[in-house]
Symmetry: C2
Amino acid sequence: MTTPSSKTAVAPGEPAPRAAEAVIAGGGTMSDIREAQALIWTGKGPGGLIDVLEAGSTIAWIQLPSAGIESYTSVIDEDHTWTCAKGIYARPVAEHALALALAGLHRLPELARAYTWRKTVCRDLCDDRVTILGGGGITRALLPLLAPFGVTTTIIKRHPEDMPGATRVLGAERLDEALEDADVVILALPLTSETEGIIGAAQLRAMKNDGWLVNVGRGKLVDTDALVTALQEQWIGGAALDVTDPEPLPDDHPLWDLTNCIVTPHCANPPPLERENYARLIRDNVRRFFEGQPLEGLVDPKLGY
Amino acid sequence: MTTPSSKTAVAPGEPAPRAAEAVIAGGGTMSDIREAQALIWTGKGPGGLIDVLEAGSTIAWIQLPSAGIESYTSVIDEDHTWTCAKGIYARPVAEHALALALAGLHRLPELARAYTWRKTVCRDLCDDRVTILGGGGITRALLPLLAPFGVTTTIIKRHPEDMPGATRVLGAERLDEALEDADVVILALPLTSETEGIIGAAQLRAMKNDGWLVNVGRGKLVDTDALVTALQEQWIGGAALDVTDPEPLPDDHPLWDLTNCIVTPHCANPPPLERENYARLIRDNVRRFFEGQPLEGLVDPKLGY
């Protein structure tokens, strides 16, 4: 059981009420940074985090609020234990990915912008081939949603071991092969030095000319200039992007005008700290930390996710 | 087994090649209308059908090409056996219904028309309440697609008996109750004198003010004027319509301009005679007819579907 020494700080600024409640629900006690053993970081990014860690010399574990943590790379060290919110938002992000894939095949991006009735033939996801890049929480949440469509699923994953519900799991060296016959390609990867630009001109040319690209990972996974050309010249059927590079996407960007493209403003991932399951993660990780149990969402500082 | 007397006509006009092939694959022989026992109707509607039936006095069974047959009501009699294509297109129509429901909740109709990045909060289908009007083939195909979302499903059906995968099945007299707490209401009913205008102002007012209406049945199931008001005054969250009244929807219709509405041009149901499964239905029904087996898609002339 936890003791009154389970000192946890919430920073920056005034403790977010839900975060503080979750700390207490997990058996922690709210504490000043200078005495804290654990830190629940509520900032929108890493700004100020280094200073907090310098002031809080007894902090051993830091909980970060987002699933993707590429912006924290310069701060994350091996002297502390770091956890992020990976997996926590997997379910809604997976649902958004499916909504975007179905929208693309059923031509909703184009039809939503129509002001006249014109004969249109939609495609089906049923019996299609779906390739998913990434084998983390989003993919694990997406596979059961895809199951009733009878699709053939290929997962591209660093360590290609079987995944329940996936037809096959391949290593990254077989990416081009997995793109060639895919009707839908879904990006659900973290952004690291290895995954940046993983979809460039060559990969877009490898895709079927009616295949749809769905990105719910990070904008920089895709070479945006190459994507614009691919959409303009119809190398692929279309793209549905919840994340873009740059982000926010500027008003004059060509992606806005392409009818074979839909951009959603990074809304698959619900706002941090507003979701019950993030409060639950804080509560559970606070309890685990002070009980010496393994933490959820552990970051590998070397891999960067 | 069938014999050389298994005479089947395909009308109007020259026999559609796939229909003729399917007749022969089913053991039928192609025949002139005046000698046919079976008629595969390939017209876009009932125009000319009465004349064909008058000329074909030996015709006992007519296969109609569409799932909804409200336009044939004046021709369908009790002197012939009638079958339609109900159920054949259920799978793609169910998928389109799910695509529209997800698009609505994830705000894609509005986001597809955006030309700027604006913070947006999407909703989830996960754990929602879904009410489906109609308990036919579309609903049977839709329930397995909805299952992994963990939704509570209420089916409104003429004869409320249990359906696999449905949380509850209610009779039409409990419609208002089933609308009140639904996050998504899906119309998958045939159009008959009983179902025409089943969703009017009172039903739209009964719905949640963030609920989405999805229509993949027939346009006249909904009072369109009431729907326009409901969307303009935000009685409901939005509407996603694959069918409209009138149809085609005229260019100056207010539904085109509403960002909480998406219209798809009756494309959930793929073009008749172009689908393998319609050819398969013809083949199987020809075989069944000449072997004296029960036919698939049998029409009840009294019920009108």
